[in-house]
């Protein structure tokens, strides 16, 4: 059994040609993303957690409550306190939106956790005007929001989401992502989230489970995986880190905000909405947007020049090098990735343990509710 506030899952099985062999443990808080190439078993794992697939040799518990174990216990799906959001909503066409939402709502509120209120969910997801309509007349985005609401109103202890946005077009995705962020922030509900879109992960995830061909590749906090040079995330061309910070100041004159992250304060556009000081924000920094300098540049158009320390290095193909630097003079802050040529690394005489200055050319600020802000150069 895992400790309190943790989730443990273990599934070993052969289903046809596919061997599933995954065991991981994550906190029972925040969003855990399940990620990997097509066919790696992410949906299979989710369905096993839900009990939709019954594996002979499987274990799952959440915060001490065992849902199945290899010996005897197997709680069937309909008795597991979970919510499941399918890729295509799967609303019941013969019921109105309101009846769909209330389909799985229990008569009594749960005793051991805060109740999820109907009006709260409806307002959060913006579906009040849809309540008396038939699911047949809704758009894909509307259906998905109702599907999320329906799952939430079952008062779950765990929310499972299987690529909830992948069937939607880009614009709709952009509209719903903020709702999911709200989910994470508003309800204290652990969420397992499957996606193949790395941008969604960077925006939403706190933890990550990486799968490949049915096997577990890695399971760690997102930031750890992103800055682990041995993980495929870090070595990819679009490698980036997600930093979590708090807004400390605004500069309306130049349209900028200051966001404090462990080890540094970054300046990023655009200014947050009024009253955002003290609010959490996520920042995304691409490896290819970070360059390193041995001395602080005297005058540079780059605003974010941050003291840091090199903590790791990995040689890549094509005469490139990936460096991992930790912010702060002691090198104990948040980590950034920096991608540079082998020539630069060699000629600068860079090495692990060295203090450097990280120059961050582009910072992307996730502005919370509302549309995503495009990447802006901050020079």
């Amino acid at each position: 059994m895992s400790e309190a506030n943790r989730i443990r899952a273990e599934f070993h099985n052969v289903l046809g040609n596919f061997t599933l062999n995954a065991a991981f443990e994550v906190p029972a808080r925040g969003i855990t993303a399940l990620f990997g190439p097509s066919g790696c078993g992410k949906t299979t794992v989710l369905r096993c957690i839900a009990g939709l697939i019954r594996v002979k040799d499987g274990y799952f518990d959440i915060d001490g409550e065992i849902w199945q174990d290899p010996d005897q216990t197997f709680i069937p799906t309909y008795r597991r306190p979970l919510g499941y959001v399918f890729q295509e909503a799967s609303l019941f066409p013969h019921l109105s939106v309101r009846r769909n939402l209330l389909f799985g709502a229990p008569p009594e509120k749960p005793a051991d956790r805060p109740a999820i209120d109907f009006d709260e969910v409806v307002d959060l997801l913006g579906i009040r005007p849809l309540l008396d309509r038939s699911p047949r007349n809704l758009s894909g985005g509307e259906r998905q929001r109702v599907g999320i609401g329906r799952a939430l109103l079952t008062q779950p202890k765990l929310l499972l989401m299987d690529e909830p946005l992948s069937a939607l077009d880009r614009k709709t995705k952009g509209e719903i992502l903020p709702f999911i962020e709200e989910l994470r922030d508003h309800f204290s509900l652990p969420i397992f989230y499957i996606t193949h879109d790395i941008a969604e992960i960077e925006r939403l995830a706190d933890n990550m489970v990486l799968l490949d061909k049915g096997h577990l590749v890695a399971c760690a906090r997102l930031s750890e995986l992103q800055s682990d040079p041995s993980s495929p995330l870090a070595t990819s061309r679009e490698a980036a880190v997600t930093l979590r910070g708090v807004v400390t100041a605004c500069d309306p004159k130049f349209g900028l905000s200051s966001v404090s992250v462990p080890g540094a304060v970054l300046i990023a556009p655009p200014p947050p909405a009024t009253g955002a000081i003290g609010e959490p924000r996520r920042l995304r920094v691409l490896a290819s947007d970070v360059s390193l300098a041995r001395e602080k540049p005297a005058r540079s158009s780059i605003l974010n020049v941050l003291p840091a320390r090199v903590v790791a290095m990995k040689a890549l193909d094509g005469y490139e090098v990936l460096a991992v630097v930790a912010l702060g003079e002691q090198g104990d802050g948040a980590r950034l990735l920096s991608r540079m040529t082998l020539k630069s690394w060699t000629e600068l005489g860079l090495a692990e343990g060295q203090n450097v200055f990280a120059q961050v050319k582009y910072v992307s600020l996730n502005a919370g509710r509302g549309t995503d802000t495009p990447t802006h150069p901050v020079k």
Partner: protein, 227 residues
């Protein structure tokens, strides 16, 4: 017209027979159709084929086998002995049994197809929404499959109204008891009583038309969502 008065019993019997047979079939066919739609058992299609047999066998052949089965040499005889009778042949109960067997495939097929069209996903969704398998069946599968039930009911009802061969074989054509419209018409034709034959036959056609049309219209209206 005194002819009309003695035409009523076959009509009444036919209506009773068709209604009871249809209701019985809806109850029997539903779990069968469900199993056929969802089971992964290996013998499933063999069972499906057996269920379809009554559609393929000539009615007189089917009627003959049913006659033996409901007679004193078959299980029907044993059932009849429970209330002191020798056989279920020549009884209304025997007719119901025969009609149920004969119309079984016409009711099972559309219901099975409807369940298959519903698929697994709505049921999985229902399970994740706290519905036990039984609740998922009643609240999701059944309403979504309702067009299939309507089809099955219409087909079963009209099949029974038109059932001639089986009814003839096992009914004994007893007036007031087993003489239904189809066999009565046959009788009148055999004995050259054309007027009565025409009245009954015409009535059957009109009735069947009205029933089927109204069920189709109901099905169309029902296709909208319940709010």
């Amino acid at each position: 017209m005194e002819t009309l008065a003695h035409l009523w019993p076959p009509v009444r019997l036919t209506l009773e027979l068709a209604s009871i047979t249809t209701l019985t079939l809806l109850v029997i066919a539903t779990p069968l159709a469900w199993w056929l739609a969802h089971s992964k058992a290996k013998g499933k299609e063999i069972v499906a084929t057996i269920v379809s047999l009554p559609m393929v066998l000539p009615p007189t052949v089917l009627g003959f086998y049913i006659l033996i089965a409901i007679g004193p040499d078959g299980p029907g005889g044993w059932v009849a002995s429970l209330w002191g009778a020798r056989t279920l042949a020549f009884t209304f109960t025997g007719l119901v049994i025969g009609s149920v067997i004969a119309a079984l495939p016409t009711v099972v097929q559309p219901i099975r197809n409807a369940f298959q069209a519903v698929g697994d996903r709505p049921l999985e969704a229902a399970a994740t929404l706290r519905a036990s398998p039984w609740q998922a069946f009643w609240r999701v599968a059944l309403p979504l499959a309702s067009p299939g039930f309507l089809s099955g009911a219409v087909l079963g009802f009209s099949h029974t109204v038109g059932n001639f061969g089986v009814v003839l074989m096992i009914g004994g054509n007893i007036p007031g008891r087993t003489r239904v419209m189809s066999t009565a018409i046959f009788d009148y034709v055999e004995t050259m009583r054309w007027q009565e034959a025409n009245i009954l036959a015409g009535g059957m056609v009109v009735f069947a038309f009205v029933v089927i049309l109204s069920m189709i219209l109901i099905e169309k209206r029902f296709a909208g969502a319940r709010v």
